[in-house]
């Protein structure tokens, strides 16, 4: 059923506070979409990590650059886009933090958490430049995807 997704767009400034705020909005949208508490947490953390990277790497903490978060609620899954005004990055260039050499490094775990907590994860360069991560979480069988 090619249902038109329900869309919620959020535009945030590049501020530290935008990370927790986007996370909370993500949790609200996930709850409204019928995800259970555990999935709400996972979706919230994925949004947190995506927006944190947009803040740090993409927009390099330049406040006037925008962070766009788009939630699309399809009948079978929720899709989240986090786009920044940086130069983007390629997934192949992100080292796996679980290897022996990287294990004790301070960083590199954000992408891993997003990939693990969401069912789909991809990185793109948006039109006109800017990095974008696109991730999706499917409704579990017992969930009521009609809730919202």
């Amino acid at each position: 059923m090619p249902l038109k997704p329900r869309r919620i767009e959020v535009v945030l400034e590049t501020l530290l506070e935008s990370i927790a705020l986007a996370e909370e909005i993500g949790v609200s949208v996930a709850a409204a979409a019928g995800f259970d508490e555990d999935d709400q947490y996972k979706i919230g953390l994925a949004v947190h990590e995506g927006v944190m990277n947009a803040f740090q790497y993409g927009n390099q903490q330049q406040r006037e650059r925008k962070i766009h978060v788009l939630f699309e609620l399809f009948s079978e899954k929720m899709v989240i886009h986090v786009a920044d005004q940086g130069t983007g990055f390629r997934l192949e260039d992100v080292p796996d933090p679980r290897t022996d050499e990287n294990m004790l490094g301070d960083s590199g775990r954000g992408v891993l958490l997003m990939r693990t907590f969401m069912d789909e994860f991809d990185v793109q360069v948006v039109q006109g430049g800017g990095g974008e991560v696109i991730m999706a979480k499917r409704y579990r069988a017992q969930n009521n995807s009609q809730a919202m």
């Binding site: 990370i19 927790a20 953390l45 947190h48 775990r109 693990t116």
Partner: protein, 115 residues
């Protein structure tokens, strides 16, 4: 929302009780400063009580790892106590679970430090 930290000394071991979120910003920075301060003042046997921590982001995980490295480099030990289900899951996903010594019983955890 943010992190509260208090520390106690038990038989040569510094127990740091953490309550809140360890994330980029306040929480992560607080933990980093506290560990550094303890190590600099000669307290190298650290037990982080995470019972009150239900949320850590990738930056917070990074702080745990760098705390661990710092303490180890000073011939100390940093161990974890009372992981919540979510934190345990995060350590497993990132393969950090085997890196840390993890306890559920404070008395046994304190006794486990080599002194």
């Amino acid at each position: 929302m943010s992190l509260k930290a208090t520390s106690r000394e038990i038989g040569g071991v510094t127990v740091i009780d953490l309550d809140g979120r360890i994330t980029l910003g306040d929480g992560g920075a607080l933990l980093r400063d506290l560990i550094r301060e303890k190590v600099n003042s000669g307290h190298k046997m650290l037990l982080l009580n995470l019972a009150g921590v239900n949320y850590i982001d990738s930056t917070g995980l990074g702080e745990l790892v760098s705390g661990y490295r710092l303490v180890k480099a000073q011939n100390g030990e940093l161990k974890l106590l009372n992981l919540t289900k979510r934190i345990s899951e995060l350590l497993q996903i990132t393969k950090l679970y085997p890196v840390f010594e993890i306890h559920n019983d404070e008395v046994k955890a304190v006794a486990s430090f080599s002194q």
